[in-house]
Symmetry: C2
Subunit: 225 residues, 2 copies
């Protein structure tokens, strides 16, 4: 007896993926994990997993739970990018992935590795060293595009910064995201305008360094990117 076509349709897989960005050295990096299970076992992919309605209060919660299994530190600021869906993007069948992005402070990028099964690494966000599983190459590209648009529109990626930072460091972070250099004078002039000065707090502290000390700033509590 032939299968009823309707019976061959499984309920769609519902997953979340996260593009977790950080600044390492001079470049923007994204967290990749090496898959330990089929499908696409051994390939590198964005951290992701399936929704568990009994554990998660929302899709964003699911993303946070999955991130906690990969890295030690909490990443409080997750933002939804968009969804990816269709019958062919996962060999197991019709699937939905909701993509989020998140930013990890520079001083926490070594606090990773909370996972004994999968290898984890930071890779170039704009051009990963190897192809990614599923449609994750496209997902990463989309997340990066959203990130760049926000910075172009003068949003400050303060969540990538350590607690205390100089304006030069902040400018270098923006440059790493945009992939181009910015004019120092223009950058600092913008920060003095009302909208931005509310996000930045002058700590009156100075960086101890070899040259002229720079003023240290911190993000306003509750700052949202």
């Amino acid at each position: 007896m032939p299968l009823n076509p309707k019976k061959t349709i499984l309920y769609p897989l519902i997953g979340v993926d996260v593009a977790l960005f950080c600044i390492e050295g001079q470049g923007l990096k994204a967290l990749l994990v090496q898959r330990s299970q089929e499908p696409h076992s051994a390939q590198w992919a964005l951290p992701g997993g399936l929704l568990k309605p009994d554990l998660d209060a929302s899709l964003e919660d699911a993303a946070k739970r999955i991130l906690r299994n990969k890295i030690v530190v909490d990443v409080p600021h997750l933002k939804e990018v968009c969804t990816f869906s269709g019958p062919n993007r996962d060999p197991r069948g019709w699937s939905i992935s909701v993509l989020f992005y998140a930013l990890l402070p520079r001083d926490q990028i070594n606090a990773l590795i909370n996972n004994k099964v999968e290898a984890v690494k930071w890779d170039d966000a704009a051009e990963p060293a190897q192809p990614l599983a599923f449609d994750h190459q496209q997902q990463l590209q989309t997340a990066l595009q959203i990130l760049r648009e926000k910075v172009e529109l003068h949003n400050l990626p303060l969540h990538l910064m350590p607690t205390l930072f100089t304006l030069t460091q902040l400018q270098q972070t923006c440059e790493a995201i945009l992939g181009r250099s910015l004019d120092k004078s223009v950058f600092r002039r913008r920060l003095k305008q009302e909208a931005h000065s509310r996000s930045l707090i002058d700590t009156n502290q100075k960086e101890t360094g070899l040259q002229r000390p720079a003023t240290l700033y911190r993000a306003r509590p509750g700052f949202d990117f």
Copy 2:
């Protein structure tokens, strides 16, 4: 024997909702349908429905299929806004809704009604006359916000216009979306800049009216909002 708690978790409902906008009179309207089934029977809501993996090639496809059941004309330009999810937003249990918005040309707003069960109406997009079912009030507000941000950033909502339109009509459409009046000179000066003039085609035709005839324009084929 007590239920296994895990068995009480049903698979999440996966649905799509659409905020379909049009211009009627001087205002921005959104399409609402009166629900004919539980939950929230008889309440007004955004057009929406459940994903059918055997029929839909993607979530956007699902949204198009659902719209076709409500209105006659095809609405080709659907854009994803974001998702809404959680255990409490639908009384049937854990649910996900992916929200899309779409724009209906002004000369097609009377080609609606493809549905014998549900009542359909255009309501004020910014302030619907009655509360909406589920979290659709919040969904509509979010979609409207995205629409306004795009127009503020000088995107042209050409998909709301009839095939041929004058610049004054286009300006009135933008004003209806933003909820504020715009300066005619500024508006037209922007349109002459390179980026916009590629989207607008001067047809060399004139509107037949009671006063000075206005130049008629049409959208460049393939224009995307």
